[in-house]
Symmetry: C2
DNA sequence: CCTATTGTTTATCGATCACTAAAAAATAAC
DNA sequence: GTTATTTTTTAGTGATCGATAAACAATAGG
């Protein structure tokens, strides 16, 4: 870690030496766009420096290494529309957490003008052993999101919102797997409107309506009661 | 295409020149293992030749190029447990096609002794522009599987097995997205038993029971009626 | 001014990338 | 044995990989 951190706010009095000629945030945004679109192994340092308009030593001085740059890009990407772990925990219900994760996820992986897919859901799934450490960090990121949802579900179970027999781990896997599949479909060109029915189908599997105790507090959109791919029931 | 093809069967009378010192099938199997585990960009030619125990010119003589080798590996991978497009079309029902795709898919992405995940579902999702052509071929492979399922669903709709209002495209997307998410989860270490509940949840979304006309011909396992993550209904 | 500090430019580094030309080795046909 | 054919071995190709040493430029503090 050789470069100085500028994380402290409150109007720095001005650095000592020469002024940087490039905007660090813009450079990060450029790196984000490249890594997002082509993956870690699909982007070379020459790609990065030429897109940023800087030379290699400047990049290394500012970011440390390609892997460190990717890590910083990942943190920046965290605030790109997708749901974060703490937001999952703060959701009004596990159902809402799942719905938001999927709906906001679809919006995030199909944003016009941005690369398709999700950096986390589809990032570094297969990689050279040389980058195993970075791949493990992404894997941990995916696991943390899944665990956050699982914990939120478990809380609903403990609170009696969901049936005691609910399998929190399985339910969390269902939702995160759906999100990951949605990312792949987006990468393959699916539009948001084509992906939304997936949300309805997944949410329709949510327990609590049949065997659960209370159901009053929950807010279920009509789309979850009657998934768009399913015909309206004639009788029940 | 400089190398001779040995595709014709029926006991070749013996080739003319020097005998190959390595088994072509074994070499392909080795390449499969490497590409499957690390992806196209994660495997170098040095990795391949050293694992195969041959020199680079032998590899190029036998397979043409790295990309061509990958293509041949992909064809070989096709018969690795996962469901193929023609099998989807030949299924007894679209429901069975979906169930088989997911169940056999889970088995395929969690095979002991084999690399985790699915080469097609999780392969080349992000890649360098240099490999865009190969990535497009994989994308087309994913699309063909999805279209095969969509066509099978549409046939059930036309035959009156599924309700007229069924959205075949959305339903096919649901299943293939689930499969792709399952592949990611497997790559992240999920066991088959942890993934099976996803199948039940997806199949539970299958139309035909409520609004569809006939339901007698369909075979629904108990797991689809009561997904394992959902509590058994007390009343209905 | 001088010194210290910071970021730049220039010119690489050795390693690895996918790939190949050329010669040698091994076999079959004759 | 000679020739033709095929595959191997040897020894590389130029390009690109991620990363850096060293010198230069630009700023602030004294």
């Amino acid at each position: 870690m050789a470069h100085s951190s500028r994380t402290t706010a409150a109007a720095s009095p001005r650095p000592r030496g020469r002024q940087p000629t490039f905007d660090r945030d813009e450079a990060l945004e450029t790196a984000l766009e490249l890594f997002w679109r082509h993956g870690y192994e699909g982007v070379s340092l020459a790609d990065l420096t030429s897109a940023m308009g800087i030379a290699a030593p400047s990049l290394y001085h500012a970011f440390g290494s390609k892997a460190d740059l990717y890590r910083e890009v990942l943190r920046r990407y965290g605030s790109s529309g997708g749901m974060k772990a703490d937001e999952v925990g703060a959701a009004a219900s596990s159902y809402d957490a799942a719905r938001q994760m999927l709906e906001r996820g679809i919006a995030a992986v199909t944003m016009p003008g941005k690369p398709l897919g999700c950096m986390v859901s589809s990032g570094m799934l297969m990689a050279s052993p040389d980058h195993a450490e970075l791949a493990a960090e992404l894997k941990a990121l995916r696991a943390s999101l899944r665990h956050a949802l699982q914990k939120r579900i478990q809380r609903d179970i403990d609170d009696g919102v969901l049936p005691r027999a609910t399998d929190a781990a399985a339910l969390a896997r269902l939702v995160t797997a759906a999100m990951q599949g949605i990312s792949v479909q987006a990468l393959d060109g699916a539009k948001a409107a084509e992906l939304l029915p997936i949300v309805a189908a997944v949410l329709a599997a949510w327990p609590g309506r049949d065997g659960g105790k209370p159901t009053s507090r929950q807010t279920r959109p009509a789309s979850a009661r009657t998934p768009s791919h399913r015909a309206a029931p004639r009788a029940r």
